[in-house]
Symmetry: D2
Subunit: 140 residues, 4 copies
Amino acid sequence: MHAQQMIAAHPHVRGEVNTALARCVEACFDCAQVCASCADACLGEEKVADLVQCIRLNMDCADVCLSSGLIATRRSGGDVPLIAAQLRACELACARCAQECEQHAEMHEHCRICAEACRACERACREAAASLPGADAPRH
Amino acid sequence: MHAQQMIAAHPHVRGEVNTALARCVEACFDCAQVCASCADACLGEEKVADLVQCIRLNMDCADVCLSSGLIATRRSGGDVPLIAAQLRACELACARCAQECEQHAEMHEHCRICAEACRACERACREAAASLPGADAPRH
Amino acid sequence: MHAQQMIAAHPHVRGEVNTALARCVEACFDCAQVCASCADACLGEEKVADLVQCIRLNMDCADVCLSSGLIATRRSGGDVPLIAAQLRACELACARCAQECEQHAEMHEHCRICAEACRACERACREAAASLPGADAPRH
Amino acid sequence: MHAQQMIAAHPHVRGEVNTALARCVEACFDCAQVCASCADACLGEEKVADLVQCIRLNMDCADVCLSSGLIATRRSGGDVPLIAAQLRACELACARCAQECEQHAEMHEHCRICAEACRACERACREAAASLPGADAPRH
C-alpha cells in the first residue's frame, strides 16, 4: 500500500510523516479486507451455525476498520479527539474479532490469518492513538 | 427508512425494539447522506477555499456515521462496549461537523440543513448509548 | 431523509432538482440499511445454513447501494458514464437480492421487507439512470 | 495485503485461487486509500479551487473502489453478472480519476501517485473481469 508515500506528499506534512499513523492506515485497510474475506469464508463452512458470532464480529470489524482508515487518512484536518475516539473504537473491534477468531484458528486457516491481522491492527491503532498530540490527556 | 420495522422482525428481538437504537440507525444513515451532500455542495461554492475544513469534517462525519449506522444495525450480536465506543466517536464527529457548519449556516442553506442533521444525529447517538445495558458504567 | 432538500440547496442546482436522482439516493441508503439488517437477522435464524446465499447477497447489495448512494449524491461533478455504470451495478445487485429474499418472504418477515426495499431501489436506480443526460445512448 | 492468502483459505476455493481477482481486490483497497488521501491533500493545496473536480473524482473513485473490493472479496457467492458490472463501474471510475490526476501530476506529487494507483486498479479490474467465467459473453 501507499499510505506512507501519500502522507509524505501531503502539503501540510512536508515530509514529517507520523509513521505510526501511516502504519495504522495500512493496517486498517488490510484488516477490513481480511475480515470481509473471513466472514465470507465462514459462510462457506459446513458448520456455519457455529460461526455466526464470528461472522458478525468480522462484519463489525470490517466496517469500523474502513471508517478508521479513512479518518486516519484525513488526519491533517487535525481533529485529535475525533480520531482518538475512532481509533479507540477500532482497537476494541479488532480485539473482539481477534478473540473470537482465535477460538477457530486451529480449525480454520482463514480465522487464523484474520486473528493475526486483527491483532496487528489493534496494536497499530493503539500506537497511532498514543502518537497523537495530547494523547496522554485523559480519555473523555 | 425501515430500521425500526427491520429490527422488530429480527429473530432475537421478537417485538421488543430498542427505539432509541432504531432512531439512531436512521439518524446515522440520514446524516451520512447529508454530510456527503454538503461536502459536494461546498466544493461547488465560489469561495471553496473558505470551506476546506467544513468539507473535511463533512467527510469524516459521513464515514463515521455510516459505520456507526451499520454497527448499530447489527446490535443483536451484543457487543456493548464496541457499539458504545463507536457511538461515542459518532457523537463527537457529529458535534464537530455541526459546529463548523453552523458558522456557514446563514450563508449556505446546505450547511444549515447539515448542521441540523448533525445535531439530530449527535443527540440520537447519545440517547442510543444511554439505552444500552450497563451504559451507566464508566467509559473505559 | 433530506436528499432532495440538500440537492435543491446545491450551488450548481439552484432549485432544478432531478427528482428521479434524489429519490434514487434515498432508496439506496434505505436499501443499504435494510440489507445490512436482513443479513444480521438471517444470521440469527435457526436454519442459518439455508440462508447463506441470502446473507451474501444482502452484503453485496448493501455495499453496492452505499457507494451508489454516495456517487449519486455527488452527481454535480457530472460524470454521467460513471454514475450510469454504478447505477447499473446497483440495479443488478438489488434485483439479485430481491429474487433471493422473495424465496424466504413467507417464512421471514425481514426477508419480505428486504425484498420490497430491493425492488424499490432497483426501480429507482433504473429511473435515475434513464433521467441522466444522454441516457438513451448505447451502454458501453 | 492478505487477499490472495485469504482467498486460498476459503472453503469453496481449496487452493485454486483466481489470482487476477485477488490482485484486483488488493488494487481496489489500495486505490481507495490513495484516492481518499489525494482528496485530502488537494484540499490542503493553496489553489484548491483548481482542484475541485479532482477532489470529486477522488471521492467517487474511493467509494467505488471500496465496494468493488468488498464485492470481489465475496466472489465465492458466484454472482458473475453483478461482479462484472461492479468491476466495470470501477474501471470507469479509476480511468476518470487517473485522467484528471494526470493533469496535475507534475505540480502535485500526490496526484502523480494517485494517477498511478488508479491506472493500476483500472487494469486490475479489467483483467479480473476478463477472468470471470462467461466473461466473453456480451455485456448486457
